[in-house]
């Protein structure tokens, strides 16, 4: 009987201790369930926006291949209107929204008729990457007198562009 009493006492104290543990675990579980539902909501949102996110990512240059695609796009735009630009690319840094960010500094030099250069500049403004023009110079050469016999079509123009690709993220 004493033995049984001892066992009973042991079981009682064990149960009291376990009840405490159980309460802690239940609380932890409730917290985790809350987090889990948060995870599920975020996961669902991420799943629903996957196509859109992929599209956003396509506007960002994130590796060497993307740099090549960007350079090809610049040249292809020029080729479409019979222009052959000289393009240089180099990386740099700029401060945006209070943070230092990597950028792809691009310079383009090209010559041709005013209309073609204007068309090319317009095409560059519309490329899907986020671009900021730091300087653009459109200049004709050889005109010093108003009555020079040069029509606007024949006049040669040069276009020098310095622009920063802000949607550049190689990290």
């Amino acid at each position: 009987m004493f033995l049984l009493g001892g066992v009973l006492f042991y079981l009682h104290s064990g149960i009291v201790k376990t009840a405490k543990e159980l309460t802690d675990i239940e609380r932890l579980r409730a917290e985790l369930l809350g987090q889990e539902s948060g995870v599920l909501t975020v996961k669902k949102s991420l799943q629903n926006t996957e196509v859109g996110r992929r599209e956003i990512d396509s506007y960002f240059i994130s590796n060497q291949n993307n740099v090549a695609t960007f350079a090809t796009a610049i040249e292809a735009n020029a080729k479409q209107i019979d222009l052959s630009p000289e393009v240089t690319l180099e990386t740099g840094e700029v401060e945006i929204f209070g943070e230092t960010k990597d950028i792809l500094h691009t310079t383009i030099s090209v010559s041709g008729s005013f209309n073609k250069l204007y068309q090319y500049l317009q095409a560059l403004e519309q490329i899907p990457y986020k671009v900021s023009f730091s300087s653009v110079t459109l200049a004709s050469y050889g005109q010093t007198s108003f009555d020079e016999k040069t029509s606007s079509v024949q006049t040669k123009w040069t276009l020098d562009i310095a622009m920063d690709v802000l949607s550049y993220n190689t990290q």
Binding site: L4, V39, Y59, F97, L121, S134, Q143, T144, S145
Partner: protein
Amino acid sequence: MVNLLPDEKKEILKKEYHLRVFLAGSYFAVISLAILVVILGSYFFLVRQEIGKLEEGAGSKNASTTLAGDMVLVKEINQKLLLLNTRFESMLPTELARVFISYKNDNIKITRIEYQNKENVGYATVKGIARTRESVITLLEDLKQNQSFMNVDLPISDLSKSKDVPFTISLSIKKDEEKRINTDN
């Protein structure tokens, strides 16, 4: 009632009766304790098992790590969208060229258009040749009246010639907010 048993026998019977009651009581108590031990024991082990399962579930801390990872992704997307939606120029170079061309008349030849963006403020210079001084003044006035520009400036020296007047007009491009303030006024 007639007392037929001797006192000794009576005493023995009494003792035996008490012993039986004690034994029956003890037997009952032991059985009860044994049942209690079995019930509490099984409850205890079931609870321990349950705790084991719960601890296993709680052990999967991946949920919080996944959430943290996903939140980083969400923050990244927001930053990308903010960047894509922000306009860093108040006027695109072609818009600027279009404005200059729209003010150009037969007496003006534009030879150079320069655009510069310094810390999100646009500056422009237009160079050209004008047939007469008056045509340069007209172009200058037109540009001054344009709500998109400010600090429109032409050096006086540019007006020294009367024919084939080379000119350089410089100006700043107003930011979108500044344009709105002017329109409201």
